[in-house]
């Protein structure tokens, strides 16, 4: 599982550093330049990581993004006391029974309680922010459907 997630992360963030992520073309409301799905996910992840506020000093990198309709990824690199980076990637799968949280070393659990509430809240905020910051120039913007999603 961890290899799969590592491949996904690598594929989306190919050899990029935080600086490179910042240097991505900014697409504002008036921009109509077509982007690849990977570039869109990079942009979304930059916004997604900001949902949780400023990174603590020891956190080198943080990513939070929606990979596909049923998958969310949380990735964090933490600087340890010995000077090495430790990576932790968590995959969240939307399943009929609930939200399955998958971590390295075969740790599986369904979200519940405050963790589930916070995750749903983060996903809603993610959707709201990316819609406004990245996709707000999309024609046919349906405010009613937006309200429908976020009201739940």
């Amino acid at each position: 599982m961890s290899r799969f997630i590592a491949r996904v992360i690598k594929k989306i963030f190919v050899d990029d550093s935080i600086d490179k992520a910042f240097s991505l073309p900014k697409i504002g409301r008036k921009s109509s330049k077509p982007l690849t799905q990977r570039e869109l996910i990079q942009l979304e992840s930059h916004i997604g990581a900001a949902i949780f506020g400023e990174k603590p000093e020891h956190v080198v990198r943080r990513e939070f993004f929606n990979l596909d309709e049923n998958t969310w990824i949380w990735h964090e690199e933490v600087l340890q006391e010995n000077g090495k980076n430790q990576q932790l990637t968590t995959k969240y799968e939307i399943q009929p029974r609930g939200i399955l949280k998958i971590q390295p070393n075969y740790k599986y659990s369904y979200l519940e309680g405050a963790e589930l509430d916070n995750f749903v809240m983060a996903a809603k905020e993610y959707y709201r922010r990316i819609k406004y910051d990245i996709y707000s120039d999309v024609s046919g913007d349906d405010a009613k459907s937006d309200e429908y999603v976020l009201a739940k």
Binding site: T36, R38, Q95, I99, V120, Y127, I130, V149
Partner: protein, 107 residues
Amino acid sequence: MQKSGEYKPANTLYKDPASSQDGNSRRSYFDEKPFVDDPSHIKNARHEVSRVYGQTDGSVEDKINPDVAAFHKPKYLEKALPSEVATLREIGKGIADLRSSKVGGAR
């Protein structure tokens, strides 16, 4: 040959790799067809139910112990779709729609 007193299940998916006749040690639990796809297993199940309940008309479904049926029911069917799942699916679809409207190049 089976030694006397040695337990050997008569009807199981498991195949001992060492005893496989073709010598293929890669055989595993799932080399056999699942029960649901194999009519012979259904026939055996009907026979077993008939033996236990004295049922011979073939309508075994009515005679299956409801506790056993409940045990085999997939867990996710036991309760309605959690509202959080529905919400996150809506959000996932919304994001996919947004992306598809913006994607212009190769994925």
